[in-house]
Symmetry: C2
Subunit: 388 residues, 2 copies
C-alpha cells in the first residue's frame, strides 16, 4: 500500500531509542538506571556559564540567519582549524549546520551518485552507514586492526579502492572505539586519495577529546582539494540538544552545499547559533570541565575493566568510548537487552557498529560520574559472573 | 576537479540570500531599506510572551530528545489537526522536525525513487522544486489559473498523471500566491490519488493565515493512506529562527521517517522544542497578534495596489503573500534588482517560482508595519512611473 524508496526501506531502524526505551520501561526496578548509552559529555552550559546576555530575549534568535550561518561562528571555527591546517580557511569555507550528522549527510549527498562506493573503517558509527545507504551508494567496510587499538588497515583500504570509490570517511577520534588514527596512515591515505580523486571526509566531532598526547589529524593535508571536515560544537560545549555543527570545504563545494542547506534546513537554528556565540567566550572552560571528567572516568574504567576476566579492552586515547570484547560465545545484542532487564545498565551492542563486532559492547563514559562508573561496571561484573 | 552529484549541480542557487545581500550592500543609501522579501510574520515571542520558565536554564535543552520529538509537542499538534481531520491522529503519527523545509525534504526523500514524477501546481515555492531535483525525481509543473485567484487546474493535473507519478504537492494557503485551494478540487484530487496510489503532500505551513473565511483543506480526507501533512510552527508563533516543524503521516511511514530523521538530524533542536512547549500556552495570543497585523497589511495593500495602473493583483485569502503582475514587457528579475539599487525596496521576482511567471513579483507582507507598506508601495509606484 505505501510506496517507500527501497534504499530507505532496507536501512535498519535507529538502535538508540530502542534501548533507551527498554531502559525506561523494562529495566529492573530494584536498581536505579545507569546509562552508558548516548554519546554525550557530562556538563552543559548551565554548569560552566553565566548568561549575562540571554539569547532568549534577542529578537534575532527568532528570525532566519544567513544560509551559511552567523559570520562570527564561521570565523571562530575557521580560526580554530587554522591552527591545525596547512591551508588557511576563511568565512567562505564554512557552513554552520544543524549538527554533525546533518553536516555529514549533506556532504555525502553532495558528493555521491547512486552506486558510488564509500570506504568506511569498521567498527563504524551507524549513522554514517545509514546515510550512505539512503543515498543509494555502497558501503565498503574495512575492519580496523584491534590489536593495534583499532588502527586503520591501510593495505586493505588501498586494496578496496576502485573507479567507483568516491569517498573515504575517517572518524578520528573514533566513535565507537575511541581510536585516534595514526597521522602517518592519514598522510599516506591522503596522498592516495589526491591521486585517485577521492575525497576524505573527516568526522572531527570528538576533536577536543584526546588523552595524554598531542594529536592533529589535519597536519599533513596541503589543501582542501581532497578533504571535507565535518564537525560539531556538541561535544566540546555539552550542547547536543542545540543541534549545531559545521562543514569545512573548498568554497566551490560550500556554494553547492548552500543549495542543500537551504532546501533541507534553510539555516541552522538561530537561537542555538546565538547561544553558541555567547559560549565561545568560555570554550576552554567548557572543554576543561568536560574533558577532565571524561579523562577521570576513562582512567577509572581502565582499572575496573582490567580486573574483570570476561572483558578485554584495548585502551584507546580519544573520544569517550570504550569498545570492549566479551567472551566470543556471547551475542552482544542479547547481552545488552538482558543487562538492561536484569541490572538496569545500558550499553550498546557491537553489532550496530558492523557485523564483525558481534561480541563487543560500547561503553560511553562521557556523561557518567565516578559513582555511576563504579556501580555500573560492578553490575556488569556481577551479571557476567552470574551468567557465564 | 571536484566531483559533485549532477542533480545538485543542476539545481539553481537559492535566491533569497542573493537579494538580501544586494539590499544590505548595494541599495540606495538615500532610502532606508524596506524588505518585502523573507516570508516571516511580524511578532516574535518577545512581543507576546513572558518567559517565567526560561528553557535556557533547563539542562534538558542541551541534551538529545527522542528522535520523534517531545511527546507534549506531538500531542499538541495532534490535537490541533484532529479538529480538522476525519481520521484521529495520535503520538505515533508525528515527527517534530527542524522546520517545514526539513519535513518536506524528508517526506519526499522517503517516497521518491530516481525518475519518479512529482506534480506541483505553479507558481511554486522554490525549495519544493529544489528538493525534488536533488533527489533525482522529476518535477511536473502545472500552471494554476490566475483569473480564478491561482486556483488548481484540475483537468491539466489529471492529464499529467501517469505510472511514474508518485506525489502531488499542495501548498495551501499558498506561497507565493496566497491562494487557498478550493476544497472540492482537493476532494476530487484526493479521490484520484487514492485510486492511483499517489500521495498528496500538503504543505500546511500557513495554516493559521486565512482571511475572511473558514477553510479546512483536510476535511475530506478519510484516512492517511494518501496524505502526508508537513507543517511548521514558525509562522504561527513567529519563530522561524527556532527551526521547528512537523510531519503527520501513517505510523508505518513515520517509523521509516525515523531512520531519515536520525541520520540527518538525530532530533529537532531541543532548546527550540522546550521554548515551543512554553509558547503553546499562548497560541491564540501569538496567532491573533500576527494574523491581525498581516490582515491589516493585506487590506492596506489591496487599496494601494488597486490605484497603481501598472500593477495587477488578483487578491487571495491566505498566507501573507501578494503575487502581482507587472506590465509584461518587464523582466521581474531585473526589476527586482533595479528596485533594490534605486529605491532600497526588496521584493522577489516571479521567475524563481516558475518559468511562466517572468513578469510577476512576490510581496511578502507578514513582517512589515503600516508605514513600511505605505512607504514601500509608494516607492514602487514612483519607480514604475519613472521607468515605464
Amino acid at each position: 500500500m505505501f510506496n517507500i524508496n527501497n534504499n530507505i526501506l532496507n536501512v535498519d531502524s535507529p538502535p538508540i531509542d530502542y534501548f533507551n526505551d527498554l531502559l525506561s520501561k523494562n529495566s529492573n526496578s530494584n536498581y536505579n538506571p545507569i546509562s552508558f548509552g548516548h554519546g554525550i559529555p557530562r556538563f552543559t552550559p548551565i554548569d560552566y556559564f553565566d548568561f549575562n546576555n540571554n539569547p532568549i530575549f534577542e529578537p534575532s534568535s527568532y528570525k532566519y540567519s544567513d544560509i551559511r550561518g552567523h559570520e562570527k561562528l564561521r570565523q571562530f571555527i575557521s580560526n580554530k582549524l587554522n591552527l591545525k591546517l596547512n591551508v588557511k580557511t576563511d568565512l567562505d569555507n564554512f557552513i554552520i549546520t544543524s549538527g554533525a550528522n546533518s553536516a555529514l549527510f549533506k556532504a555525502l549527498f553532495l558528493k555521491l551518485e547512486q552506486g558510488d562506493e564509500v570506504i568506511v573503517p569498521s567498527p563504524v558509527y551507524f549513522n554514517h552507514i545509514m546515510a550512505i545507504q539512503m543515498i543509494g551508494a555502497i558501503t565498503v567496510e574495512v575492519d580496523s586492526i584491534e590489536k593495534n587499538g583499532f588502527q586503520l588497515n591501510i593495505p586493505e583500504i588501498i586494496n578496496q579502492i576502485n573507479d567507483k570509490t568516491k569517498v573515504i570517511i575517517l572518524n578520528s577520534p573514533n566513535n565507537p572505539t575511541g581510536a585516534i588514527y595514526d597521522i602517518y596512515d592519514i598522510k599516506h591515505l591522503s596522498e592516495i586519495c589526491l591521486k585517485n580523486n577521492i575525497t576524505i571526509i573527516l568526522d572531527y566531532t570528538y576533536e577536543d577529546y584526546i588523552y595524554g598526547t598531542d594529536y592533529n589529524p589535519l597536519q599533513d593535508f596541503k589543501s582542501l582539494e581532497n578533504l571535507i571536515i565535518v564537525g560539531s560544537f556538541s561535544k566540546t560545549f555539552g550542547i547536543t540538544g542545540l543541534r549545531i555543527g559545521y562543514i569545512c570545504a573548498d568554497p566551490y563545494l560550500i556554494d553547492n552545499l548552500c543549495k542543500i542547506q537551504d532546501t533541507i534546513s534553510i539555516c541552522a537554528p538561530v537561537i542555538s547559533q546565538n547561544i553558541l556565540l555567547e559560549l565561545i567566550q568560555s570554550e576552554s572552560k567548557a572543554i576543561n570541565k568536560n574533558k577532565l571528567s571524561a579523562e577521570f572516568s576513562r582512567n577509572k574504567l581502565i582499572e575496573l575493566i582490567e580486573i574483570i576476566p570476561q572483558l578485554e579492552w584495548i585502551t584507546t586515547n580519544g573520544a569517550f568510548y570504550a569498545f570492549i570484547k566479551l567472551p566470543k560465545e556471547i551475542n552482544s545484542w542479547e547481552f545488552t537487552r538482558d543487562l538492561i532487564v536484569n541490572k538496569s545498565v545500558l550499553v550498546l551492542p557491537g553489532t550496530i557498529f558492523g557485523e564483525t563486532w558481534k561480541s563487543y559492547i560500547r561503553i560511553a563514559y562521557g556523561a557518567v560520574d565516578s559513582d555511576e562508573i563504579d556501580e555500573g561496571i560492578n553490575r556488569i561484573k556481577n551479571y557476567l559472573e552470574e551468567t557465564t
